[in-house]
Symmetry: C2
Amino acid sequence: MSQNRTGLSDIRRITAPVFARQEAESGTQRRAYSLERGLLRWLLRATGNPPVRFILWNGEEIGISQEPTVAHVHIRDPGTLRRLALHPELYFGEEYTAGRVEVEGYFVEFLEVMYRAIARAPRPGLFRRVLHTWLNRPHHNTLDGSRENIHHHYDLGNDFYKLWLDSEMVYTCAYFSSPTLSLEEAQVAKMDHVCRKLELKPGQTVVEAGCGWGALARHMAKHYGVTVKAYNISRQQLAYARDRARQEGLVGRVEYIEDDYRNIRGQYDAFVSVGMLEHVGVDNYPMLGAVAKKALRKHGRGLIHSIGRNRPGTMSAWIERRIFPGAHPPCLSEMMQIFEPNTFSVLDVENLRLHYARTLAHWLERFEANVDKVEAMTDPAFVRAWRLYLAGSMASFTAGDLQLFQVVFSNGSCNDVPWTRWRLYNDSPSNKEKAWNPVTS
Amino acid sequence: MSQNRTGLSDIRRITAPVFARQEAESGTQRRAYSLERGLLRWLLRATGNPPVRFILWNGEEIGISQEPTVAHVHIRDPGTLRRLALHPELYFGEEYTAGRVEVEGYFVEFLEVMYRAIARAPRPGLFRRVLHTWLNRPHHNTLDGSRENIHHHYDLGNDFYKLWLDSEMVYTCAYFSSPTLSLEEAQVAKMDHVCRKLELKPGQTVVEAGCGWGALARHMAKHYGVTVKAYNISRQQLAYARDRARQEGLVGRVEYIEDDYRNIRGQYDAFVSVGMLEHVGVDNYPMLGAVAKKALRKHGRGLIHSIGRNRPGTMSAWIERRIFPGAHPPCLSEMMQIFEPNTFSVLDVENLRLHYARTLAHWLERFEANVDKVEAMTDPAFVRAWRLYLAGSMASFTAGDLQLFQVVFSNGSCNDVPWTRWRLYNDSPSNKEKAWNPVTS
C-alpha cells in the first residue's frame, strides 16, 4: 500500500512513546486473562488476520498475520485488554485516549487496515448485531439536544480550530479539482463547486442551514453577488462569522442568524447545507426536506453535502460518544427521505470520498505541527483523542467506510434545470455571469 | 407554456378526427349519467381545474377552467364516460385506443397539463390509494414471466421499430450534449457518455445486461477497444444485433448471448445496463446487485441507466397493462436496493429527464411521419395506442412525473476511481486513450 496515496508523504507515520515493559506475570496471572487473550485472537482471525501485532504488558505478542506488520499495538494492563476484547470499536478510542494503548508504526495505515479487515469480516450473529446497535444507538436530536451536541463539538474554542483549519475556517470536505491545490485553494474550489451546482446568479437570495464559521456565505456574497441568510446554533462560530463579515464589508449581504434550521423563515432562490446533515438524525430528514420545500422558490435549486455510508450503519461508537454526540452518516436510501416525501427531483449526486481523505491528511498534518500549542490549550488526553479522531476519519474515508455525498435537487415540476453538467467543468472565475445563463433547448 | 420547449416545434399538436355529434338526449337519458358527469366534474375540481373541456356525445360541455383550453376531449358514448370516471388512468388509454375518446388540440401538452394537475392534486384518501395500488399492481418477474413480458414489447418486429428509432436502433434516452444534435448524434453522444463514465480502456472486458438491438456493445468494441458480452432475452433484437456485428466485422469482439441477466457468468472490468432495470422488478434489485458484484472485477466500474421517479409509485396503469407489462420505474431509494446490500459505492447519479422528453419528441415525430406504414403493418388501434404511449411518455418526462437516472458505482473498497468528473466534459474522441489515464493524487 503506497505511503503516497494521499499526496502527503509521512502523515500516516505517527509514532508515540511506548510503555516500559512490566515484569513477567506468574502462571496464575496469565491464566486470569486467558479468556481475553483468546477473544483477541478470535477477533484477529474473524477480521482475516490483519498485519498487526498486539504487545501485552508482559511482552507477550498476539498476532497471526504472515505479512509484515504495519503497526505494533501496546496494551498497558489486563483491564485494557479486557475492555478491548469486549467492545473494540468503543474501547480502542477510550483506551488510546487514556494512554493505555499505544500504536507504534504507521498510525493512519494501521487504522485503515483495521477498518478494511472489519469490513471484510463475515456478518456477525444476531446477538452481536443487537448488542452493537444498542451500544451504538444515536442520541435523539430534539431542539435542546441539538444545541447541547453542537456546543460539545463546535464551541471548543475558535483558537483551537484556527491551529489546523484553513484560513477561512472551513470544517468540511475540500475539493481538490487539481492535485496541486493547497488546502486553502481546495476549500475555495469546494465553495465554487457548490455555487456552480446551485447556478447562483447575481441578485438571487440564498439560505444556508448550518453555516459553521460562515465561509461559504461570505464566498457566495462576495463572488456570486447573492444575499445570504445563514443559520447556525453555535455561538462561538457565529461571533467569528459576524466579525469576518464586518471586516470584509459584507454587512447587509450576509446575515448570520443564531437559530435552528427548523426555524428557517422566508423564500429563497437556493437552499444549501454543507456538513449539517450528519447532526440532523434520520428521523428528522422528512422535516428537513419540508423546511427546504417551504424555503425554496418554484425554480430554486438545493444542495445538501454530507458524510455518508455505502449501506445503513452507525457512526463509530467512540466517535459518536466522544467527538460527535448524536451524529449519523446516512446511506443514500436514508438521504432520500429528505427528498422523496417532499417530491423533490434529485438532479445530481457526486461522491467525493477521497477528497475528504486528502482534506483530513492536511488537517492532521497541521494538527501535528501545532500539537504543543494544542496541548498547552487542553491536555494530553484531548490531544490523543483528537489525533485518533482525525487519523481514524482519514482512514475511514480511505478504506471506503465513509463517503461524502453532494446532492443537488429542485422542485419535481421545475424544468429550469441545466441540460448538462458541462458548465461545472468549463468555467473560469472571470466569466461566471456569462457562464450561468441557463442552457436553453 | 412555450410550444418550443422540446425544440421540436409542432410535435405537441396532433389532432384527430372528431366524431359526428349525436342527437340530443332525452331528460331520462341525461339523468341516467348524472353520477358520471358529477364524478368527472369532481375529478376536474380535484385536479385544480386544468384548462381542458370534455365534450359529450350530445354536445354538452364539461370544463370549469377560466384559462384558454389546450384541448377538447370528445367522449363518444355514456359507457366511455362511466369508465373514464371510474379509473381515468387506465381507461383514458383504453378508450383512446378504441377510438371512443378523441383529443382535439395539442395532444402532448394536454397530457402534460393533466399529469401536472394530477401531481398537484391533494393526496387521495386511504380507500382510493389501496384501490389504485391494487389496480396498478405490477406483474411478478419470474424467469418465464420476464420472457413473456419482454416478447410482448420488443418482439413486435424490427421493421416496426426501424420506422421511428435512429439508424443504430437505440431504444433508450439519448443525450443531447449540445442543443443542435440530431437524434442519431444524440444517441452516439449517450453511448460515449456511458463509456466515459465507465472509464473504458482498450483491452478491457465489459458485460452488458439487456442489450436491446446491441448498439452500445458494438459502439464500445468499435470505439473503445473493449470486448463485450451482451445479454438479452428478445430473439428478434438478438438476430438483428448479431447481423449488424457480422456486417461491421465485430465477431469475436462482441458476443450476443440469448439469456437472462441472472445467468451472467464470468468476471469483467465493467458492468453496464441501459434501460433494463425498468423490467427487473424491485424485489429482484438485491439479486441484480449480487449479479453485478459477482461479475465485476475488484477495480471494475458499473453503470445502470433507468427510467425512475421522484417518489415511490407505479407505472401508469394503462402503460403497465398494454405497453410494458411488469414494468416499474424506481425512485432512487428503491434503486439503492441494488447497491446497498452489496456494499457498492455510488459514485455519480445524473438525472437526464429532459433529454428523454426530447428523445421522445424525435421518436413521435418520426412515428407520425410514418404513420401510414405503421397502420399498414398493424391496425388503427395499434397506431392510436402507440401514439398515446409516445406522447404520454414525452408528457410525463416534461411534467416531471418520470425521471431518467444514470448511476455509476464501484466496489466499496476500491480507490481506483476518478478524482473529478472533469474528463466527462473535456474529452475529444481523438484523445480518448490519453484522456483515460487515471488521475493520480
